[in-house]
């Protein structure tokens, strides 16, 4: 391709890249999965892939700040957990017909619970980010880790909501009879729909001026300051947005697992989400989705072969980091230039 004078050529003139094919294939496969699984008599896969979709959403939100923004946040599971607990606690109060904080009635309405989950997770992310984003490198990792641990212990201490044992979901989120999340297939398509919509939004965000600031700050923070960008505020907004989306993933997770527990926000969970992003290929939005798939399916398959699957998975992760750092999706060639 010798045309170097335009930043982007008209789409029709460019052959679709390997990545585009991969995305198309993935989309088709995801859409067709429930009927295919039912036809094959394996409805279990619908639940399994639903779980993958939920973590794919969380991983995608982490990619915004990690892959595009360069912020190695070791507390992302905390935002997911908070979102899950909002749904769980509201459902609990709704079923018990008691008041939260003596003021608010519970509810199982998704119209209320899900946005509230996003709001709470987002506000937490705002607070955590405000403190943490003043630090860099290992200090940032440690501070986010510390906050995650504090959140974990906080929820463990909530005896009223099950403490260490967690809380069963009293009722799945309802959406005014539009859809029943108790039905596996309905839940699957809701999760897929959310993933696609959020994915498209994040795609616009990462290519926008805001996205450019994030990426520039990741590449060379010092230079960004010297061309006139007060980087902190942009990072804080990205961090908050990522937290809110993770909260939404948490709301979905509560419904998928029918259960919320502090284990959902343990620091090792945050580590797993980071692994998903890297495994798939960070900085690509699709990569984390692929990564979630590979991670969770691998976990499923390997634990079927041997209960000691982590002894295999650990070295595999090590090898990926050494040899395939750009992740699986990252291995596919993209279009030339940026």
């Amino acid at each position: 391709m010798t045309d170097t004078t335009t930043m982007t050529g008209p789409p029709a003139l460019r052959a679709p890249s390997a990545r585009l094919w991969a995305v198309a294939l993935l989309a088709v496969a995801l859409l067709a999965l429930p009927p295919a699984a039912k036809a094959l008599g394996e409805p279990f896969y619908i639940s399994l892939v639903s779980r993958v979709l939920v973590f794919a959403l969380a991983a995608m939100s982490l990619d915004l700040i990690l892959g595009y923004g360069g912020m190695v946040c070791f507390g992302h599971a905390m935002f997911m957990g908070v979102g899950a607990y909002v749904v769980g606690i509201l459902a609990h109060h709704g079923a018990e017909e008691t008041l939260l904080f003596g003021l608010l009635p519970g509810t199982d309405s998704g119209w209320i619970a899900w946005p509230l989950a996003m709001l709470c997770a987002g506000l937490l992310a705002l607070a955590v980010g405000y403190v943490s984003l003043r630090t860099k490198g290992i200090h940032f990792i440690m501070i986010t880790l510390a906050f995650a641990q504090m959140a974990y212990f906080f929820f463990v201490s909530l005896r009223a909501y099950g403490g260490d044992d967690g809380l069963s979901l009293a009722a799945r989120s309802t959406f005014s009879d539009l859809v029943s999340l108790r039905d596996k297939t309905s839940f699957y398509y809701v999760a897929l729909g959310v993933l696609v919509v959020v994915g498209l939004l994040l795609w616009r965000v990462t290519n926008s001026r805001f996205g450019m600031v994030l990426q520039g700050a990741k590449a060379n923070e010092r230079r960004m300051a010297h061309i006139g960008f007060p980087v902190f505020r942009y990072r804080l907004v990205a961090f908050t947005l990522a937290g809110a989306i993770a909260g939404l993933a948490g709301a979905l997770l509560a419904n998928q697992a029918n259960f919320v527990s502090p284990a959902m926000m343990h620091w090792t969970r945050s580590g797993e989400i980071i692994v998903m992003v890297i495994l798939g290929g960070m900085g690509s939005l699709v990569g984390p989705v692929v990564g979630a798939f590979v991670f969770l399916l691998l976990e499923e398959v390997l634990s079927g072969w041997t209960e000691h699957w982590q002894a295999v998975f650990g070295p595999m992760l090590l090898l990926v980091v050494i040899y395939a750092r750009q992740g699986l999706y990252g291995l596919l060639p993209a279009r030339e230039g940026k």
């Binding site: 070791f74 200090h139 201490s157 980071i274 982590q310 650990g314």
Partner: protein, 290 residues
């Protein structure tokens, strides 16, 4: 709240602190000199405990068990450094975190395969059973006092090593300015392997001493790892002195926190401490780097 209770908790805090120091010394040196975050440090602690427990059961001698664990993990650590970790010195921290995270999974599972999922019991060495009344009327377990003693002895030994020997001088220089030391033509690779081995051995020592006190089981290193990371961040990366002070600070804070505060808040004590210190001194108390 009696003076005896305070004295007892102070000693407990010192015991936790000195154990954390053994862990933190190695981790902070490796981070300061080789710029490597090694999350598998907790696994070395765990393996030290397992080796010691097994050797103790086989030989009946605590001393032999401790020495065996020390040497065994020293060798394992150096092997790990040579085979795997040295290719990560030039890589960014995220890669190191991911890779060593993978190592944690591997070591935890290998321990489960070799020793099983149940905790391994390690008894107190006979000679160190019993109590000592440091304060008349307030008996304190002899073993814990010995643990404090060992930790302090190591602190003194490290102080002498780092401050008074040529090797120590290289270590200090490397922690302060790695590139310079390389440029001076020192055989840096040998230094790195030695430092890593030393850190691993100290972690094994911590694990050995902890064996009779805590349960020796898979995953015992994970919690200690977080505490150790908090210690080195508070103390300042690359500084042994910082690690020592921070370890005692964390040990005492955690112990008194649990005594004085309700359960949930007590868990958070050290993180609040870390956040407070980082706000005041973002580089930690005694940062080694220029």
């Amino acid at each position: 709240m009696s003076a005896m209770l305070i004295a007892e908790q102070t000693l407990n805090g010192l015991q936790l602190g000195t154990m954390l120091f053994l862990m933190a010394a190695g981790l902070t040196l490796v981070f300061g000199i080789m710029n490597l975050i090694n999350l598998a440090h907790g696994s070395l602690y765990m393996l030290g405990a397992y080796f010691a427990a097994t050797l103790f059961r086989l030989t009946g001698s605590f001393l032999l068990a401790g020495a065996g664990a020390f040497v065994g993990v020293l060798a394992l650590g150096m092997l790990l450094e040579l085979a795997v970790l040295r290719r990560f010195y030039a890589r960014d921290h995220l890669d190191q975190v991911l890779a060593t995270f993978g190592l944690i999974l591997f070591f935890n599972e290998m321990a489960r395969i070799v020793w099983g999922p149940q905790a391994v019991f390690m008894p107190l060495p006979e000679a160190l059973e019993g109590t000592v009344a440091l304060i008349p009327g307030a008996p304190y377990p002899l073993y814990r006092l010995v643990t404090i003693g060992v930790g302090m002895a190591v602190a003194v030994a490290l102080y002498l090593l780092i401050g008074r020997t040529r090797a120590g001088m290289l270590i200090r220089a490397g922690a302060s300015n790695r590139t310079m030391v390389e440029a001076l033509g020192v055989n840096i690779r040998v230094l790195y392997t030695a430092v890593f081995g030393l850190g691993a051995a100290l972690a094994a020592l911590a694990g050995t001493m902890a064996g009779p006190l805590l349960s020796v089981q898979v995953g015992m290193g994970d919690g200690v790892l977080i505490l150790t990371l908090v210690v080195i961040v508070i103390g300042g990366i690359g500084s042994i002195r910082g690690a020592f002070i921070a370890a005692l600070l964390v040990g005492l804070s955690d112990t008194f926190g649990r005594m004085l505060l309700p359960a949930a808040v007590a868990e958070m004590t050290i993180y609040i401490l870390m956040a407070a210190i980082l706000t005041w001194r973002p580089q930690g108390l005694f940062p080694a780097h220029d």
